[in-house]
């Protein structure tokens, strides 16, 4: 049995078709593994509902066209799930049971996927460490001593896939919240073009930067999943009408004639030799496959401005999006003499200091006397950064760079947030959020038995091209279907 949940969706699907396993067997096993997991990956398990559905699906013939049929999965706890408590990892939503499903949850449901649990996250998806949710630190399953982080904010989802509990998991990505943990977890982490997957039902952090994103164990799975989730949704006014014509099941991995660009400043600011060597090796292989690779300066000032402008824009939007959490309509209610009293108590007790810090930054930057100098300036910087990326996309198919300057950081590691490595190499992935660009992280290698990834980011609506390029690199690198169960066999490649 243990041979299925660490495979890809595609492989599990064919095992189901052949009758080698059943949705019920898979679901039982996934729940068993979820319960055994010690990394603090789950907000809650929906065992009863999942088993009921699995039993039902086990009675019918597996449809060939429903690739996700009968396959268990996990969703980050910031997706609205009808009848299942959804807290966004925050005490302010303790006991909140949504009345409706997020569009992606519905789409997966219609396709027969089985939700077994809600995954931990940084509180309200704000944070990149996987340490700030109300359930505490989420650990990296590659490090059984619990000294290393998995990263966030989609920490629990990353654990669920890398620990071979489920073959895919939903996350959300506002700065790099799926693509960075994917690097730390040896997974494929995909963030589509903004508007290609409906955000309806995703708890908003910063809507102009938010994306529904997900973890899989292979590029092909990521593409197949995109096929299922990428639909116009009338409930999301920012959902794209662009027709999705490409056949995502037909990736050819052809690198001939592709033009890649490495951001020189990102490359230069990385000091980890193992990562750099592995990356160089990959570049050589790509060139052998018929592609060109250029090193180009993006502009150091622009790259250094990503983090501050990201913090301003995301905090400003966050302070407004979370103003609905006032203790009056849902979440814990505290009695007070005035409405201000009621709201202040709920928000004082419900949010952690880190969240309050973000709200203060956000409110400050939106205040009329600061808005021009802070918020609007950050928006202008965002435009300059996107324009620069678009300029590159005129000449190149995709940007390629290491997804992270290091392996998963130590829980107790102090990072200097003002050095180049942090400001540039740890934050460049947010370019993808600024421009709404399709962006994928895939495993690149291992250092001290800990994985690290490489990222490809392309121009908006080039989702198919991104998948195809990543598919080619996955073939070169050989890290397919990675999980803690099997990485030792694949590490040496």
């Amino acid at each position: 049995m243990s041979n299925y949940l660490d495979l890809s969706i595609k492989e599990i699907h064919s095992a189901l078709l052949k009758g080698e396993t059943t949705p019920l067997e898979l679901t039982k096993e996934a729940i068993k593994r979820a319960k055994a997991n010690k990394d603090n990956a789950f907000e809650c398990l929906c065992e009863e509902k999942a088993l009921l559905k699995a039993e039902e699906l086990s009675k019918v013939k597996v449809p060939e066209d429903k690739i996700m049929f009968g396959i268990p999965y996990v969703a980050k706890d910031n997706f609205s799930t009808k009848g299942i408590e959804t807290t966004g990892g925050s005490d302010i939503l303790k006991g909140y049971i949504p009345l409706f499903n997020a569009t992606v949850i519905n789409l997966l449901e219609e396709n027969g996927a089985i939700l077994i649990g809600k995954a931990t996250l940084d509180e309200l998806a704000m944070g990149g460490t996987g340490t700030t949710g109300h359930k505490g630190i989420t650990f990296n399953p590659y490090d059984k001593t619990h000294t290393r982080l998995i990263g966030g904010s989609s920490c629990g989802s990353a654990v669920a896939v890398s620990d071979a509990i489920v073959p895919f998991a939903l996350g959300s990505d506002t700065g790099d919240s799926v693509r960075k943990p994917a690097s730390n977890a040896g997974l494929v982490g995909y963030k589509p073009t903004w508007g290609q997957i409906s955000r309806f039902g995703l708890f908003p952090f910063a809507p102009s930067l938010d994306h529904v994103a997900y973890f899989t164990r292979s590029v092909e799975d990521a593409a197949l999943m995109f096929n299922v989730l990428s639909k116009h949704d009338e409930n999301d006014s920012t959902s794209s009408f662009k027709t999705r014509l490409d056949d995502y099941s037909k990736l050819d991995g052809n690198l001939k004639g592709k033009k890649f660009v490495v951001l020189k400043e990102v490359y230069d600011s990385i000091t980890d030799k193992v990562i750099k060597d592995k990356f160089d090796l990959l570049l050589n292989k790509i060139k052998e496959g018929g592609s060109t690779v250029d090193f180009v300066e993006f502009g150091k000032k622009l790259l250094m401005a990503i983090y501050p402008s990201y913090i301003v824009i995301s905090s400003a939007e966050a302070t407004s999006n979370n103003a609905n959490l006032d203790g009056i309509k849902f979440g814990p209610f505290y009695k007070g003499n005035t409405y201000q009293d009621v709201m202040m108590q709920a928000r004082t007790k419900g949010f952690s200091p880190l969240i309050k810090r973000r709200f203060v930054i956000g409110s400050y930057s939106l205040m009329s006397e600061n808005q021009e100098e802070v918020f609007k300036r950050a928006q202008k910087v965002r435009h300059l950064i996107v324009d620069r990326a678009k300029e590159l996309y005129k000449k190149y198919d995709s940007i390629i760079c290491p997804a992270s300057p290091s392996i998963a950081p130590l829980v107790k590691g102090a990072s200097n947030q003002l050095n180049d490595t942090y400001l540039i190499a740890d934050n460049w992935l947010a370019i993808g959020n600024f421009g709404g660009f399709p962006s994928i992280t895939i495993p690149l290698g291992f250092e001290d038995d800990m994985p690290f990834g490489v990222n490809i980011t392309s121009d908006a609506f080039k989702d198919f091209e991104v998948f195809n390029e990543a598919f080619a690199m996955e073939n070169i690198l050989g890290y397919r279907d990675l999980s803690v169960l099997n990485f030792k066999d694949k590490e040496g490649k």
Binding site: F79, S80, T86, G88, L93, Y96, P98, L99, F100, A102, R199, F200, G201, L202, F203, P204, A206, P207, S208, E234, N235, D236, S237, T238, A316, E317, T319, S320, N322, A323, N324, L325, D326, I328, K329, F330, Y339, Q340, M343, S363, L366, M367, S368, Q371, F375
Partner: protein, 474 residues
């Protein structure tokens, strides 16, 4: 010293669309609290706004009626503040780019036409309704998200009367365009007034006082007049005017201090990130305007020119768009427009007012009123029969022709029959011809009375009059 009042108005008009401004939540007035709302209306996490197309069409129509420039790109902004009536913690509005800008409307004051400039018209969503009790508050989310247009005038009005006429005009536009019920007493049209005064001839604006909770046209006029008087007295006494918010007290007919305005709230506006800017094509905007229901001024012109009604009656019919609609429908069944208007005003409206019935709940079809008017006009029945039939129609909802037959109510118009009756009366009263010749016109009426008595009032008086004169002259 004489002062000039400087008055600006902010009017919120609640639209009567089927669903809310940004959600599929249904709208129906008077529904049980908290039954007309969907998760979005409660600000539940993950819900997203969808712009109501009909609300946009409505806003275009009102903007056009107010001669405004219409922005073909729709932008929405968030207005952020914490309050119990604001479920999301922000209101979606149009701060930077209102759909309508730089318009005007014209009012008649003292026989002169005055042009009132209007700064902007924008769309936004309504807040919850709150019911405050001694130590608790109940919230009704039914109102949360109902589409509003806010119309902001320039500070160009100079008196309570002008303000009242301005609001009346706006109300006519939104009701005739079928955008809103425009009922001030029910809150579907709400008006906030800003009043300041300054010495005549000066241009510097005085301290502005805001008056809220004005729920009738008369209150607007009274409140402004009171406020101008109050402020003038203060200034003449050398006392300063405070920047404050006041409300109008109906019983005392005066404005009362609600709160002194301190620093303005910072609403931290920014562009709504969940709605991409929407481009309105020229044809969409043109269609919205072309298909706009007929507005007051056009309708008045039509009633005067096509129906040839007198102005007083036409204006009574137009005092309520539902009257005008009822009349229009009736007018398709008769050519006797003025008669229809007369009957409608004296009988139908008389009945509705007496029984306190809204014309929307009036069961008699306008077609039947038109038929009744024709029966009267064609002298098939007389006016007292007409009233009798009308009273039956109200009860039974039957057609007047059927009722007339059932009641045997017909008029005798046959000349021979009438002549015989007249002769009978003259025979019975031999002094009549002599009296008539002596110039006593009273006898004419006497004869008419007698023949009416004989027939139970079923004589066509027109025909009878002619015959009476002929017979008396013999």
């Amino acid at each position: 010293m004489n002062f000039e009042a400087v008055i600006g108005l902010e009017i919120h008009v609640e639209m009567k669309t089927k669903s809310k401004m940004f959600s599929a939540g249904p709208i129906s007035f008077g529904a049980t609290p908290n039954t007309n709302c969907v998760p979005m209306d409660l600000g539940m996490p993950g819900t997203m706004p969808r712009v109501n197309k009909q609300a946009v069409i409505n806003a275009i129509r009102v903007s056009n009626a107010l001669h405004m420039t219409i922005d073909h790109d729709l932008w929405f902004d968030r207005k952020n503040y914490f309050y119990t009536d604001l479920p999301k913690g922000y209101q979606i509005t149009q701060q930077d780019r209102p759909i309508g800008s730089d318009g005007y409307l014209e009012i008649e004051v003292n026989g002169k036409t005055k042009r009132c400039e209007i700064e902007r018209l924008h769309m936004e969503e309504d807040t919850c309704m709150q019911h405050h009790f001694s130590d608790y508050t109940l919230i009704d989310y039914n109102r949360a998200g109902i589409p509003l247009v806010e119309i902001v005038s320039c500070p160009v009005l100079r008196s309570g009367e002008e303000a009242r006429k301005y609001v009346e005009k706006i109300r006519d536009i939104v009701t005739f365009a079928n955008v809103s019920d425009g009922k001030m007493e029910e809150g579907s049209l709400r008006c906030d007034v800003n009043v300041s005064i300054r010495p005549y001839g000066t241009t510097k604006l005085g301290t502005k006082v805001e008056v809220k909770n004005l729920n009738s046209l008369q209150h607007i006029e009274n409140a402004i007049d009171f406020e101008v008087k109050r402020q003038s007295e203060l200034l003449l006494l050398g006392k300063p005017i405070q920047q404050e918010t006041r409300r109008y007290d109906e019983a005392k007919k005066e404005t009362i201090l609600m709160r002194i305005k301190t620093d303005a709230v910072d609403y931290k506006y920014f562009t709504e990130p969940n709605i991409c800017p929407i481009h309105l094509s020229d044809s969409f905007v043109d269609d919205a305007i072309k298909t706009c229901p007929e507005l007051y001024d056009e309708k008045l012109a039509r009633f005067l020119n096509e129906y040839k009604l007198n102005e007083v009656d036409a204006k009574i019919l137009l005092s309520n768009v539902d009257y005008a609609d009822y009349f229009d429908k009736g007018a398709t069944f008769t050519g006797n427009f003025q008669n229809l208007a007369n009957f409608f005003i004296s009988n139908v409206l008389g009945y509705l007012n007496k029984n306190n019935i809204d014309i929307k709940n009036f069961k008699v079809e306008s077609k039947h009123i038109a038929e009744l008017v024709d029966l009267l006009k064609d002298k098939k029945i007389n006016s007292s029969q007409g009233i009798e039939i009308f009273n039956k129609m109200v009860q039974t909802n039957e057609s007047p022709i059927k009722l007339q037959k059932a009641m045997g109510a017909t008029l005798i118009g046959d000349e021979e029959t009438i002549r015989n009756l007249v002769d009978e009366v003259i025979k019975a009263n031999p002094s009549i011809p002599a009296d008539f010749k002596a110039g006593t016109t009273r006898v004419q009426g006497f004869v008419m009375g007698q023949i009416m008595k004989k027939t139970g009032g079923k004589i066509d008086p027109g025909v009878a009059n002619k015959i009476i004169v002929e017979e008396l002259k013999k």
